[in-house]
């Protein structure tokens, strides 16, 4: 049967292609942006995008990894699922880093991959890859569409699974025959997922236990993770902390969920956390973890983590409770619901004035520190100026490494969902494309992508995207001509054998940016930093700014691998 492909998504009961049906399901899911890259197996889908007047926009990256990190950045700052479209084989495998990154950091993504036609699957066909096999361990769930009639249901399920409970990436693999063939548009999208019912409301008995423990505690501490951001619980967290004067520390990914400048904030805890936060964990007698997963970069040596504390853990994912740290009071729930229940509970606090005084003194006596130099520039000072000049209100994205830790330490996030970083997977090349997605998701905000000279070179091809769309992303290269964190570890633990970590042949980033039609600036004197930042933040367009910083600077304080949370080095100068 030959049917002329329609130029509109047709009414129910009409004949349309599988690809048109897919477009319709995306419209139904209220998608506003798709990050993608075309290729053979998704040609029918791209044709449908071309033919249909879709209410969403397709953003063409310059590498599929750019698409997926952009989708992650978009998801992180908007709370909406990031949608990705890539072709079969290499298109799909280029997404793997981003899918794993999203899995580790619980970001809601729905990823469509093309697949070779069903009749050649399994024959090692051109651009065939076992996407189901490859993505099974790195997705919350994955599908291969074997019948076009399943497509509306699968897409609906995928958005549901990706965005509810503990968010995560869902892959939908679509064979070319499914998207290309003509089908009758009268399918139901009702779904039934009896095995998937996340627990949202806390068990009241566990809340009572937690309230009782808090009433008895003399040295209580709140640890807030990204779960509080996904649950939109920052307001309740602040109410709860302020109501009982509870000190708060956050994980790397939890930054911003509690105002960094609040007097109750101890800053970030963990490997490069503050002295005050880490010692509070070491000395507290009740640790209430809300939406963090006790990652090893937070805990250090397990036996020395909160050794004197009763541990309460609120998490929507029961499998995280008791996984790494023995937990006395487990609460399986959405962080917001749990906090509301706690706010409604009867809690009579002990006098914890002494505890609070001690923590405040630690904050004052052992602040984060750095050595200031004129040229090259001190990287931490640079971050402080970014913070000052952006009034602490920018969306900041980073890669992984020294610049990431300095950004986490010196940019005091007061608002939730302004911090986009690769935490669990620690992905170089994440920050810049994530900024592209963040800027598209929140067009009116200042987006500053703080990256290293190493990581930026992994995904800088996305400069074409910010140029094409005139996205006013400000790329700040913290350029120490090295893979700084690798270099630091080699200095500390490998007797200064700098094996392959010094980048002496970097490109001229200014010319590079200019070749993409993007403004480039280079700053190597401290005196030029503030005027340059002021000027480029005010500039209505993309900028790549190459800041030459001191190569030898290390991130401190630090808990060496295998050490306890109280065994920090570099606490003071």
């Amino acid at each position: 049967m030959k049917v002329e492909a329609s130029h509109e998504v047709e009414m129910k009961g009409k004949l349309i292609t599988g690809a048109d049906l897919l477009i319709k399901t995306l419209v139904d899911a209220n998608v506003d942006t798709i990050f993608g890259y075309p290729g053979g197996a998704v040609l029918p889908i791209y044709d449908a995008l071309y033919r249909n007047d879709t209410p969403f926009e397709h953003v063409l990256s310059r590498h599929e990894q750019g698409s997926i990190h952009a989708a992650e950045g978009y998801a992180r700052v908007t709370g909406k699922p990031g949608v990705v479209l890539a072709t079969s084989g290499p298109g799909a495998t280029n997404l793997i880093t981003g899918i794993t990154d999203a899995m580790m950091d619980s970001l809601p993504l729905v990823i469509f991959t093309g697949q070779v036609a069903k009749n050649v699957i399994g024959t090692d066909a051109f651009q065939e890859a076992d996407v189901m096999g490859i993505t099974t361990p790195i997705t919350k769930y994955n599908y291969q569409v074997s019948d076009v009639s399943d497509l509306p249901r699968i897409v609906k399920e995928a958005f549901h699974i990706a965005t509810t409970g503990r968010p995560g990436p869902v892959v939908i693999d679509i064979p070319k025959n499914i998207s290309a063939n003509i089908t009758l548009n009268d399918f139901e999208d009702d779904f039934y997922l009896p095995g998937y019912q996340p627990t949202i409301n806390p068990n009241p008995l566990q809340i009572v236990k937690l309230a009782e423990a808090l009433s008895r505690a003399k040295r209580p501490l709140l640890l807030a993770g990204a779960g509080t951001l996904f649950a939109d619980a920052s307001k309740e967290l602040k109410q709860f902390a302020e109501k009982y004067k509870l000190p708060v520390t956050t994980t790397l990914l939890g930054l911003g969920t509690f105002p960094g400048t609040n007097e109750l904030s101890l800053g970030m805890a963990g490997m490069h956390g503050t002295y005050a936060a880490n010692m509070a964990i070491y000395e507290c007698d009740l640790l209430i973890n809300i939406g963090a997963r006790f990652d090893d970069r937070l805990t250090g040596k397990i036996v020395d983590f909160a050794p004197n504390a009763k541990v309460a853990h609120i998490d929507i994912d029961p499998a995280e409770i008791g996984k790494n740290i023995k937990t006395d009071i487990p609460v399986v729930a959405d962080a917001k619901k749990a906090l509301i229940a706690l706010l409604d509970s009867k809690i009579e606090m002990q006098n914890n004035f002494e505890w609070f005084e001690k923590l405040t003194k630690n904050k004052q006596d052992y602040p984060l520190w750095y050595e200031r130099t004129d040229a090259p520039i001190s990287p931490q000072w640079l971050i402080e100026q970014i913070y000052n000049i952006s009034n602490g209100e920018a969306i900041v994205t980073t890669d992984v490494g020294q610049h990431q830790m300095w950004a986490a330490q010196f940019y005091k996030f007061d608002k939730p969902n302004n911090w986009v970083t690769s935490g669990g997977l620690g992905t170089m090349g994440f920050g810049f494309p994530a900024a592209v997605g963040a800027q598209l998701g929140r067009p009116n905000d200042l987006v500053v992508s703080i990256v290293g000279d190493g990581g930026f070179q992994m995904t800088l091809q996305e400069l074409s995207v910010i140029k094409q769309r005139n996205l006013p992303v400000k790329v700040i290269i913290v350029n120490n001509e090295a893979l700084g964190m690798v270099r630091q570890w080699q200095e500390s633990f490998y007797e200064e054998r700098y094996s392959e970590s010094l980048l002496s042949e970097n490109p001229d980033f200014v010319k590079l940016a200019e070749s993409y039609g993007v403004r480039g600036v280079k700053v190597d004197q401290e005196a030029d930093v503030i005027p340059t930042l002021q000027e480029i933040f005010a500039y209505d367009g993309p900028v790549v700014a190459d800041f030459r910083v001191v190569r030898q600077t290390c991130v401190y304080p630090m808990i060496a691998p295998g050490k306890g949370i109280h065994e920090m080095v570099g606490v003071t100068k």
Binding site: Q144, L193, K323
Partner: protein, 172 residues
């Protein structure tokens, strides 16, 4: 400690791969897995025999299984009154002279000879794993040419006594 875990799962494509992959990645030590249809269409039953070091690891195992979208229910039935059975096929060397002798060995196990050839027998035995292992040990001196086991499949008995003896852990 050895535990028997059962799971009912939605019979969707890739579910076995997803579950075994997860168990492998998280370094759980699986002795056997058996999978088959259940009384409900579209729902399969899986039985795992696992070796776990402690209660925390066991709790993680059941939580990670439960977390899978297709998993409907996970039970650790090791401490309950249950039936656990497996089937083994054993091809044992046997000439005319030893045939009757082997028959004598397998009879108390209610095993049966399901194939006879000039120089071998195939014996089928069903039962608790310890019983199956006992029969295999007795047949070994005759020379086992081939052996295959299905892995344990298990579920709870119809009635649960108030106290369960430690018999189960011995029998699995």
């Amino acid at each position: 400690m050895k535990r028997i875990i059962t799971a009912t799962v939605q019979d969707r494509g890739g579910v076995l791969n997803r579950i075994t992959g997860m168990l492998n990645r998280r370094q759980f030590n699986i002795e056997s897995i058996s999978v088959g249809a259940s009384e409900v269409e579209g729902v399969s039953k899986m039985t795992f025999v696992v070796e776990v070091s402690d209660d925390q690891k066991l709790e993680q195992l059941t939580k990670q299984l439960n977390k899978q979208i297709d998993v409907l229910k996970v039970s650790d039935i090791s401490d309950k009154a249950m039936v656990a059975r497996e089937l083994a096929l054993i091809k044992v060397v046997s000439t005319g002279q030893t045939r009757a002798e082997i028959q004598g060995i397998i009879t108390p196990f209610r095993a049966s000879v399901i194939d006879v050839s000039k120089d071998s027998l195939i014996i089928q035995v069903t039962g608790r794993p310890d019983k199956v292992d006992a029969l295999i040990a007795l047949l070994r001196p005759y020379g086992i040419k081939e052996l295959t086991k299905t892995g344990v499949t298990a579920f709870l008995r119809g009635q649960q006594p108030e106290q369960v003896t430690e018999l189960n852990s011995l029998s699995i």
